[in-house]
C-alpha cells in the first residue's frame, strides 16, 4: 500500500492504494464513482474512458499510481443531473444517443476530449475519435449526431 495524491473531478484526493490496482478499480471501489464501467479485459471497448489531464485514457489500462499528481475527470465530473448537466450529456439525450447506457459514460468522455481540441469536428474526425468506444445497442449513428449537436451547442458558448 502506498499513498496516492491526485485530483479527481476537481477535488484533491488522497488515497491508500496497492500498486497493482487499476485506476478504474480505485475510481469505482474506493471513490464510489461507478459511472465509469468495465466492459472487457483486453483494453478495447472504451467503456472505462476517463480524462487524464484532459486527454482520454483507458482507466482499465492505467495503474492508479500512474495518476499520481494528475487530474482525473470522470463522467460524474463532467456533469450531473438537471441544471448540472453538460451540453454533451444533453446532446446524447436529445439525439437518442444511448440505449442501455453502459458504453455511454465512455462515449461522452471521448466526446469531451475530442471537442476540447477539435470544436468543429468532421464526420471523419468524429469516427476517428470514437473508434475505441464500442456500442452494441445504438448502431452509432445517433451517437455521431449527438457529438455534432454538442459541438454546435458548445460553439454557441452555452457552457464553457
Amino acid at each position: 500500500m502506498s499513498s496516492l495524491t491526485l485530483e479527481v473531478n476537481g477535488q484533491a484526493t488522497r488515497l491508500q492504494v496497492d500498486s497493482h490496482r487499476l485506476l478504474v478499480e480505485v475510481l469505482r471501489e474506493q471513490l464510489g464513482l461507478t459511472g465509469t464501467h468495465v466492459g472487457c479485459d483486453t483494453s478495447q471497448c472504451g467503456a472505462c474512458t476517463v480524462l487524464l489531464d484532459g486527454a482520454p485514457v483507458r482507466s482499465c489500462t492505467l495503474l492508479a499510481v500512474q495518476a499520481e499528481g494528475r487530474k482525473v475527470t470522470t463522467i460524474e465530473g463532467l456533469g450531473g443531473i438537471g441544471a448540472e448537466r453538460h451540453p454533451i450529456q444533453q446532446a446524447f439525450i436529445d439525439c437518442h444517443g444511448l440505449q442501455c447506457g453502459f458504453c455511454t459514460p465512455g462515449m461522452i468522455m471521448s466526446t469531451a476530449a475530442l471537442l476540447q481540441h477539435t470544436p468543429n469536428p468532421s464526420q471523419e474526425q468524429i469516427e476517428h475519435a470514437l473508434e475505441g468506444n464500442l456500442c452494441r445497442c445504438t448502431g452509432y449513428v445517433n451517437i455521431v449526431a449527438a457529438v455534432k449537436q454538442a459541438a454546435a451547442t458548445l460553439a454557441q458558448g452555452t457552457k464553457p
Binding site: 472487457c40 463522467i75 450529456q89 439525450i93 440505449q99
Partner: protein
C-alpha cells in the same frame, strides 16, 4: 385521449427518454455498481478442455490461502441437494426415438463438455483472493476425444458428446409434407439449391453478466443483469433448489444490453445463490469478457441445405430445407426450440408458399451451449428464404424485387395462415417493398454503380423483404397500477428494460389514459416480490406489456371514476374524467385524481390487472443495402442502407427507429465481421476476446434512411403495435449479403459469390472475386 398533455407526452410522440438523465450522468445502477457490507467475491475455475473426465479436485491449497472463504465443487452441490437443469422436453430424438437427456449441473459433475464450463467455485473476501484461490485449485482431468464442428460431430464413429446421444443428435423435428414437396420439385421448371451457414455469434452485450447474491430474512436475494427475473427465480426454486418461490427474490436494476443472451438461468446464477445461501453473506460474481465469450450462451450456428422449386414464371412451388443446428454441449430448451420450431414458423415469411418440407436436427458438440440471440431462429430462417429468392432471381434472370412481389401474400388474403399453421393478422408486403425501393432509389442504382466504378469500387445492391414472429409465445401480462395520494402514478410491470426504452414508452401509454404530465408517472420493473411474468424477449414488451399497461390504466380510471362518483355523491355515468380531474358533467363539482387517492383509506387507488393480447404480432419490412467492394482487397463498405418497416403503431418513433438501426448494425456485424471460431482438434475457442471477435465500430454505417409505416396496425392487440426489437437485425444480414453477392456477380464472379458464407470478411470476398481458394 387527445388532451394537450397527451399530445405532447402521449404515445406517438418522440418523447425524450426518462431513463436518460441518470445514465448520461453515470448514475445508472448496473449490478456491479452495487456493493454490500461483508461482500465476498466468486471466481470460477473453468474447464480448459473441450471434453474430459474430472478425476479429482484438490482444493486444499486454495483453502489455505488468505482471504479464501470457501470452495465448492459439483459434487458439493449434488450433496447439498441441487438438481441439474433439465434438457429440452419438447422434441424427440432422431426418427422419433426418445430424446437423449443432457442434464446441466451448475458445476460440472464427472465430466466437462466444453472449454469454459464451470467446474469449481471459489469464494474470497476480495476479488483478488477469489482469483488467487481459483488459480490454486488443482483439477485432475482425463482428456476425452472431442468434436466442435458439425461435420465432425456427424461423421461415422465420431466421439460422443453424451453417451446417450447416438450420432450426437439431440433432437429432431419435421414440418410440412415431404411427399407433396417432392412432387412440387418434380414438376418444377426451376430448382434453386444453396448450402447456407448461419455462423455462430457472441451476443456480446457491453455489460457482462453480473450477479450479486445477498441473504436477508432467511432467504436469498439475487441482484442480477437479466431479462427474465421471474424465470430465473422459478428455475432456481422449482428445478434446482426445491425451494418455495418466496424463498428467492430476484431484483434487476439497469441492464447493459441483453439481446436474448440474458434470458433464462445460468449455472453461475445457481452457484451464486448456493454460495450466498450456504455462507449467508453477500457473494458477487461479474463475468470477465473472455469468460463471457466462453460461457455466455452463443447465437445461431446452423447449416442448411435449402432448395426452392419454382415454375417458369418464378412462382414458388415448394420449399425444402434440411438444417443441422450445432446447439453446443447441452440441448437446452431455448437453444433447441429456436431452431426446431420458432425459426421454422417464419421460413415461408411473406410469401404464399403452401408446400414445405422442413427437417431440423439439433446436434451436440463440445462447444458452449447456444441460446437466444436477437431474432432467435427468425434471422436464420429469413436468411435462408431471402438468399433463395435472390438466387432464384439470378437463375431466372428476374429482378429480385419482382420475383418477391410475384410470391407475396396479398393484403386480401389476410388473415393468412401459413404452412406452419401460424396466422398473420395483417401486412401489406408489396406496399412496404415498393416504398422501400423508392426510398432506396432502387431505380437509380446504375448511375451510382458507374460513379463507384470511377473510384475503382464494385457496387452491389441487396434487398430483404420479410416478416417476423414476436411475443415469445406468452401473451398474458400482469400489471399493477397505483395512483398515490402523494401525487404520482406508479406502474409495475414484470417485463424488463435492457436499453430498449420501455419505461418511457410505458409512461407515454399511461399519459394517454390518465392525461397527467409524464413526470408524475413512475414505471417500476425488476423485482419478483412485486410481480412475476415472462420478462422481455421476442420483442414482446410493448405489444404485450404495453397493451397490459393500457388495459390496467383504463381499469384504474374506471375504478377511480366509481370512487369519484361516491366522493361527489353522484352516479359514475355522470362523471367525466379529463386530464387528472373527475368532474360531474355540467357542473363545477370536481375532485382531482390524486386528491381522490389521498382520500382513500390506504391513500391510493390500486389495481392489479391481468390481461392478454390475442396473438403474436407480425412486424414486417423491406431492407435495402448497397455496398462497395474494393476489388484489390475484398473490403466491403456499406454505402447506403434504407428500410421501410411496418411496425403497426409506434409509441415513440425515435425509440423505434433506434431499435431498427441498432438492430441493423448487429445484423451487419453478422454479415460482415463477426464469427465465433473453435479450433478443430484442440476444441479451443479461438475468438475468445475482442482482439479476435470483431464487433461493429462507429465507422460501419454512416447513415440510415429508416421509415416507419404505421398504416397497418396490428389487429390482435389494443395498441396496434407490432414488436420491433429484433426486426432490424433480421433484415440487415440478408440485405447486406445479397448486396455483396450482387457486386461480385456484376463483376463476373456470381457463382463463387453465391457459395460464400458469412462473415463476408475481406479475404473471402477477394478470393471469390479472383477465383483464389479462400
Amino acid at each position: 385521449m387527445n388532451t394537450p398533455v397527451a399530445q405532447r407526452f402521449g404515445s406517438g410522440q418522440s418523447v425524450r427518454r426518462i431513463e436518460d438523465p441518470a445514465l448520461v450522468a453515470g448514475k445508472g445502477c448496473f449490478t456491479d455498481d452495487v456493493s454490500l457490507p461483508g461482500q465476498t467475491f466468486l471466481a470460477l475455475l473453468r474447464s480448459p478442455y473441450p471434453h474430459a473426465r474430472i478425476v479429482a479436485v484438490d482444493s486444499a491449497a486454495a483453502l489455505a490461502l488468505p482471504g479464501v472463504v470457501a470452495v465448492y465443487t459439483g459434487a458439493d452441490l449434488l450433496r447439498a441437494g441441487l438438481k441439474p437443469m433439465a434438457s429440452q422436453p419438447m422434441f424427440p430424438g432422431p426418427g422419433g426415438a426418445k430424446a437423449p437427456q443432457t442434464p446441466r449441473h451448475a458445476l460440472a459433475v464427472d465430466e466437462v463438455r466444453f472449454v469454459g464450463e464451470a467446474v469449481v467455485a471459489v469464494v474470497g473476501t476480495t476479488a483478488d483472493a477469489a482469483r488467487a484461490g481459483r488459480d490454486a485449485v488443482f483439477v485432475d482431468y482425463e482428456e476425452l476425444p472431442n468434436v466442435v464442428q458439425l461435420d465432425d460431430a456427424l461423421a461415422d464413429g465420431a466421439p460422443k458428446v453424451w453417451a446417450d446421444a447416438a450420432d450426437n443428435f439431440a433432437a429432431e423435428a419435421r414440418h410440412g409434407d415431404a411427399q407433396a414437396c417432392d412432387a412440387a420439385f418434380a414438376r418444377a421448371a426451376h430448382v434453386v439449391a444453396l448450402e447456407l451457414v448461419n455462423q455462430r455469434l457472441a451476443p456480446a452485450s457491453l455489460e457482462p453478466r453480473s450477479v450479486l447474491g445477498s441473504f436477508e430474512d432467511g432467504r436469498v436475494t439475487l441482484r442480477m443483469s437479466s431479462q427474465m427475473p421471474s424465470g430465473v427465480r422459478d428455475t432456481l426454486c422449482n428445478a434446482v433448489f426445491g425451494w418455495p418461490t418466496d424463498k428467492l427474490r430476484v431484483v434487476v436494476g439497469d441492464v447493459g444490453g441483453g439481446f436474448g443472451m440474458k434470458t433464462g438461468a445460468y449455472p453461475e446464477d445457481i452457484v451464486v445463490a448456493h454460495c450466498t445461501h450456504a455462507l449467508q453473506r453477500p457473494v458477487k460474481w461479474v463475468a470477465e469478457r473472455s469468460e463471457e465469450f466462453l460461457s455466455a450462451s452463443h447465437g445461431r450456428d446452423i447449416r442448411s441445405q435449402a432448395e426452392l422449386a419454382l415454375d417458369a414464371d418464378g412462382r414458388v412451388l415448394g420449399l425444402r430445407v434440411h438444417t443441422q443446428a450445432n446447439v453446443g454441449a447441452y440441448a437446452t430448451a431455448t437453444g433447441v426450440v429456436i431452431q426446431l420450431l420458432i425459426g421454422p414458423w417464419v421460413t415461408t415469411s411473406i410469401y404464399d408458399i403452401r408446400t414445405i418440407d422442413l427437417k431440423l436436427q439439433a446436434v451436440l458438440t463440445n462447444t458452449t451451449p447456444v441460446g437466444a440471440y436477437r431474432g432467435a431462429g427468425r434471422p436464420e430462417a429469413i436468411y435462408i428464404i431471402e438468399r433463395l429468392m435472390d438466387a432464384a432471381a439470378r437463375q431466372l434472370d428476374m429482378d429480385p424485387a419482382e420475383i418477391r412481389r410475384r410470391n407475396m401474400i396479398r393484403p386480401e388474403q389476410m388473415p393468412y395462415t401459413n404452412a406452419m399453421g401460424q396466422t398473420y393478422d395483417s401486412g401489406k408486403f408489396e406496399s412496404v417493398q415498393t416504398q422501400a425501393l423508392a426510398l432506396a432509389d432502387w431505380a437509380g442504382f446504375d448511375a451510382r454503380a458507374a460513379e463507384s466504378k470511377q473510384r475503382g469500387k464494385l457496387r452491389g445492391r441487396g434487398l430483404a423483404s420479410f416478416l417476423e414472429w414476436t411475443g415469445g409465445n406468452v401473451f398474458e401480462e400482469r400489471v399493477t397500477v397505483n395512483v398515490s395520494g402523494d401525487g404520482f402514478i406508479e406502474v409495475y410491470s414484470a417485463t424488463q428494460a435492457m436499453g430498449q426504452g420501455i419505461a418511457t414508452s410505458y409512461a407515454q401509454l399511461v399519459v394517454d389514459v390518465f392525461g397527467v404530465s409524464i413526470d408524475k408517472v413512475r414505471i417500476v420493473q425488476g423485482d419478483t416480490d412485486r410481480g412475476s411474468g415472462f420478462g422481455s424477449a421476442g420483442s414482446r414488451s410493448i405489444f404485450v406489456g404495453g397493451s397490459a399497461i393500457q388495459v390496467a390504466s383504463k381499469r384504474t380510471v374506471e375504478k377511480a371514476q366509481g370512487l369519484a362518483a361516491e366522493a361527489l355523491e353522484t352516479a359514475p355515468q355522470d362523471i367525466e374524467y379529463v386530464e387528472g380531474v373527475f368532474r360531474v358533467v355540467g357542473t363545477d363539482r370536481k375532485i382531482g385524481l390524486f386528491e381522490l387517492a389521498a382520500r382513500q383509506a390506504d391513500h391510493q387507488v390500486f389495481v392489479d390487472s391481468t390481461s392478454a393480447v390475442q396473438a403474436p404480432s407480425w412486424p414486417n419490412a423491406c431492407h435495402i443495402c448497397e455496398v462497395e467492394v474494393d476489388p484489390d482487397t475484398g473490403v466491403v463498405e456499406v454505402a447506403s442502407y434504407a428500410s421501410v418497416n411496418d411496425v403497426g403503431r409506434a409509441i415513440n418513433p425515435t425509440i423505434v427507429v433506434g431499435q431498427l438501426d441498432g438492430g441493423a448494425v448487429q445484423g451487419l456485424g453478422q454479415a460482415l465481421c463477426e464469427q465465433m471460431t473453435y479450433d478443430r482438434g484442440s476444441g479451443q475457442l479461438l475468438s475468445a476476446t475482442l482482439m479476435d471477435y470483431a464487433l461493429p465500430r462507429v465507422d460501419l454505417v454512416r447513415s440510415f434512411k429508416t421509415r416507419l409505416d404505421q398504416s397497418t396496425p396490428c389487429l390482435t392487440n389494443p395498441l396496434g403495435v407490432k414488436g420491433v426489437g429484433e426486426l432490424g437485425t433480421i433484415g440487415a444480414t440478408p440485405a447486406a449479403v445479397n448486396a455483396v453477392i450482387d457486386a461480385l456477380a456484376r463483376a463476373g464472379a456470381g457463382e463463387r459469390a453465391a457459395a460464400l458464407q458469412m462473415p463476408l470478411v475481406s479475404e473471402r470476398v477477394w478470393s471469390a472475386l479472383h477465383g483464389r481458394p479462400a
